[in-house]
């Protein structure tokens, strides 16, 4: 599992539940370190163990935990860089949804050894969409549900999301766009200077 994914979990836990919670989890999971390095690769089994321990300790279902992680990745100020990268996907929420088809390619362009499952958006009407997540990274659709929810807020769109697992191991997110300009949304400039 890529260090960036592990690092995302670490960052989310530290920001949301505190560093002490993270330290306990690394210990309970039998890690002999407490910091994941963003640019190193780890055994998938290590990440699974940490995730299991965290969900047990926090008494949360894994899908809920991962969805909150997805929301954190977009909405927390620690993650402003990532939010900006996602906003490059389009001027409106619908454009952003369509840009998800290219997400795994875009990610590879930035970090060549970070492979995310392919996503495919199907448009059933101007308000009904389905996002198919290819198998390969269990729980990815839960994270994406959180991302989609937070990005809707970011664009000021009002959406209803539901997430289901399919028999072939792929996962499906249903998106109903109720209003595309429900609220103001957050500001985005192409050329924002880093503060």
């Amino acid at each position: 599992m890529h260090g960036l994914i592990n690092r995302a979990i670490q960052s989310f836990v530290c920001a949301t539940y505190g560093r002490q919670c993270w330290l306990q989890a690394t210990q309970a999971a039998g890690l002999d370190f407490v910091e994941f390095e963003a640019m190193l690769i780890y055994e998938a089994e290590v990440s699974d163990r940490v995730l299991e321990v965290l969900c047990t300790e926090l008494n949360r279902r894994k899908s809920e935990f991962l969805e909150d992680l997805g929301t954190y990745l977009v909405s927390h100020r620690n993650m402003e860089d990532l939010r900006r990268l996602l906003r490059f996907g389009g001027v409106t929420y619908v454009e952003f949804l369509h840009s998800l088809d290219d997400l795994s390619d875009r990610v590879r362009l930035a970090v060549s050894d970070l492979t995310l499952p392919d996503l495919e958006l199907q448009e059933h009407s101007s308000a009904e969409y389905q996002l198919y997540c290819s198998p390969g990274l269990p729980g990815f659709s839960s994270v994406m549900t959180g991302v989609l929810r937070a990005m809707a807020d970011d664009y000021g769109a009002l959406v209803v999301l539901s997430n289901e697992e399919r028999r072939n191991g792929s996962e499906l997110i249903s998106i109903t766009l109720i209003e595309s300009a429900f609220a103001e949304g957050r500001h985005f400039e192409l050329g924002a200077r880093k503060s």
Partner: protein, 332 residues
């Protein structure tokens, strides 16, 4: 043939950074993105070369000459501030004497999107500008993550070096290790002799033959000291050309003096480095743990140091014991 007006609306969609110029070199129409860069100054009607400064090709100073170089790659910038730079391509319209210059920011795009608050709507759908901006940010973020990993690795390396017990050049123990062993011997009330050995003339070898020769001499000296001591004695390099030897369980002055003299004799043998003779010698000062009622590491080291200076004062290649009765004069 399409009319200029139709052409304008076609270009608005396809390449929103065009400039349509008539046969006199005056601007007829500009794309919405070009006009957005100078919102207060309508460009239509002005002379092209009054608005844009042509930087390349350098040979061209007059508009008609520019027209005679269709397909040429242009480098331009605004005449006024901010002097945003552009890449451009000129294409004449056949039969009309007019021409179209299509502009692009090229590498100046990073500044341009900031200076003019451009959005993705200001670029044509096929323009790679947004992808470029995305890539710059994504790569900077990835680079930042790599950089912080490098910094942490460097910190870990320094920490590891600090915790190391070995002198990397000679393979001997370092000062840290020596302190540790000395502390252990004292706390277990073991008796020992501590020799402080200093290479004489080492600096002149370094100066005359270079650092590689100096390093070679240090390595040879280290081997000699290891050969002349037992495996459970300690040989540590504690400074550039300074060494400390801890001889465990030996306090007999005769024995120690003969060890020291053997060491000096061996170290005085000329060493050959790439054909050049490197001659050094050594001075040794020795203190015994039994010279102190309550030995402390610092005191024993200081005592050996005093003995070493006495040896040096006596001329090179000498060995002296610390004399507890007089810090100034030591007996041999």
């Amino acid at each position: 043939m399409i009319e200029t007006e139709d052409l304008g609306s076609l270009l608005d969609t396809l390449c929103p950074m065009y400039v349509l110029i008539n046969d006199e070199g005056r601007i007829v129409q500009v794309g919405p993105t070009v006009q957005k860069l100078r919102p207060e100054q309508p460009m239509a009607g002005r002379r092209f070369l009054d608005v844009f400064e042509l930087q390349r090709p350098r040979s061209v100073t007059e508009f008609p000459t520019l027209l005679s170089t269709p397909g040429a790659r242009l480098r331009l910038r605004f005449q006024d501030q901010p002097q945003t730079a552009f890449k451009g391509l000129i294409a004449p319209l056949s039969g009309k004497g007019a021409s179209v210059v299509n502009l692009s920011f090229g590498i100046s795009i990073l500044d341009a999107v900031r200076d003019y608050a451009l959005t993705s709507a200001d670029f044509s759908g096929t323009d790679l500008a947004i992808e470029l901006l995305y890539l710059v940010e994504a790569k900077s973020a990835a680079m930042e993550a790599s950089r912080s990993l490098n910094l942490r690795l460097q910190g870990a390396k320094l920490a590891a070096e600090e915790q190391a017990y070995t002198d990397t050049l000679t393979g001997l123990k370092n000062r840290r290790a020596m302190d540790h062993i000395l502390g252990h011997l004292i706390s277990t009330k073991s008796s020992f002799a501590l020799m402080h050995l200093d290479l004489d003339f080492f600096k002149s070898v370094n100066d005359r033959l270079g650092h590689a020769a100096g390093d070679f001499v240090l390595q040879q000296a280290a081997m000699i000291m290891l050969d002349e001591t037992r495996s459970d004695d300690t040989v540590a390099r504690v400074g550039g050309d300074e060494f400390v030897l801890i001889i465990k369980g030996v306090t007999d002055r005769k024995k120690l003096d003969s060890i020291a003299r053997r060491l000096i004799a061996q170290l005085c043998q000329p060493m050959k480095f790439e054909g050049a003779a490197c001659s050094v010698s050594a001075s040794v000062g020795t203190a015994l743990s039994t010279q102190f009622e309550m030995p402390k590491a610092q005191d024993v080291l200081h005592a050996a140091d005093l003995a070493l200076y006495a040896a040096k004062r006596n001329g090179r290649s000498c060995h002296r014991f610390y004399c507890e009765f007089s810090n100034a004069r030591q007996s041999g």
